[in-house]
Amino acid sequence: MTHDKPRQNIHEYLAEFEDIPGTRVFTAARARKGYWINQFAMSLMKSENRERFKADERAYLDEWNISEQAKQAILARDYNTLLDLGGNVYFLSKLFSTDGLPFAEAVSTMTDMTWPEYRQMMLDGGRSPEGNRSIKGGY
């Protein structure tokens, strides 16, 4: 069998992901690190779990194999820290809906904008890719 392109080098492939400004690509390393954060978030799909979590967030979190730092980030709804700890937005969104927060509003908390500012940016055509593609390249 012939291949029309060289095989991708896994180390180069992964290294490039760290060159994107303001972005945490959900790599296997992050998926491993954040496994229980994401499984905790997933548990909030069940209404009885949502009720128990809302009644005593700290007690509910203590049932999970999650670091103290991650527990604090969950309690503070500090989503950027949770991304750093391996959380993924599709899982974390279960926490958005537990809080009754619209998805886009929750997303805006990860930026340096207020929700009205973020919403206006989207109406105006979104964030430009200009200067936002590469940290090293600055383009």
Binding site: Y13, Q39, F91, F103
Partner: protein, 280 residues
């Protein structure tokens, strides 16, 4: 013989489902988006596909962080709309086509695509929103659906090249199914959007339109776009567009474009859709 008669690429933004379910689709915000789908809804009414192979991704609804199938095919009889945190969407259950799905699954495995087979699952907005966009609000969906779920969340996700090749293999599988069926294939997700981190809200009208141009082209260059380009240019969630390549790969080398629409924004996302017909 069964045959693939058309392909559709479309965004599957959850807010569009909310707009349909809450009757907001004619307001100032959603009006232009739904107007863009009007032609396609009419066309689907005329085309009456028997089955849609619906390529989408699950957004932590049916699959949790435990099991991550790269390509999974639904071989069940029916699927219920998933509860994504606010209760399931008030849309009909999705009827599968188990015979065709098992035939495709078996054929793909024989062609070296090691598919995961799913018998039971709930389907989330990734699958039900495109149905609403194409068919409106019927009592019962007008066609059967073969769900094909792709991992586009945990990296590495499949390459564009592999997605295209899977589409080609799906087309061969459909052609070898003995029953006379009008089959469409839909690739969903995208277009540019980023839902996480300080760069959230990134949209790229220019790149998205170049991608649509490439889908219409009489060549397969689009399959070679690397992941890093999607990530840099279209935001971390723009990678969903690799799923459109499964659709495009299934249509053969030449296609005819029947409709195309693009609109910014819908929530965090650029909305686009394209309707293609094989023209070989």
């Amino acid at each position: 013989m069964a045959r693939i008669t058309a392909g559709v690429g479309s965004s599957h933004v959850p807010l569009l489902g909310v707009a349909v379910d809450q009757g907001k689709w004619q307001d100032d915000y959603f009006g232009p988006i739904f107007k863009g789908y009007e032609w396609t809804r009419e066309w689907e009414r005329r085309e009456k596909p028997d089955v849609v192979i619906l390529v989408y991704n699950d957004h932590a609804s049916a699959f949790d962080a435990n099991i991550i199938p790269t390509f999974a095919i639904g071989c069940g009889e029916r699927y219920k709309p998933a509860d994504e945190g606010w209760g399931p969407r008030p849309v009909p259950d999705v009827e599968g086509h188990a015979d065709l799905a098992w035939h495709i699954a078996q054929s793909l495995i024989l062609e070296d695509f090691d598919m995961t087979i799913i018998n039971e699952m709930d389907v989330d907005h990734g699958l039900t929103v495109p149905l609403s966009m194409m068919f409106g609000q019927p009592e019962k969906w007008p066609c059967k659906v073969v769900p094909l779920a792709v991992n586009v969340v945990t990296y590495p996700v499949p390459s564009g090249n592999r997605c295209w090749a899977l589409g080609e293999a799906i087309a061969r599988a459909v052609e070898s199914f003995p029953e006379d069926l009008n089959v469409q294939i839909w690739g969903t997700g995208g277009m540019s959007h980023q839902l996480q981190g300080p760069r959230a809200g990134l949209l790229n009208r220019e790149w998205d339109n170049r991608f649509l141009d490439m889908l219409e082209a009489d060549n397969d260059e689009v399959r070679h776009i690397p992941h890093i380009e999607y990530l840099r240019e279209t935001g971390s969630e723009g990678i969903e567009m690799v799923m459109w390549l499964i659709m495009r790969g299934a249509l053969g080398k030449k296609v005819k474009r029947l409709n195309r629409h693009y609109h910014i924004p819908c929530s965090n996302t650029a909305i686009g859709h394209i309707v293609l017909e094989p023209a070989d």
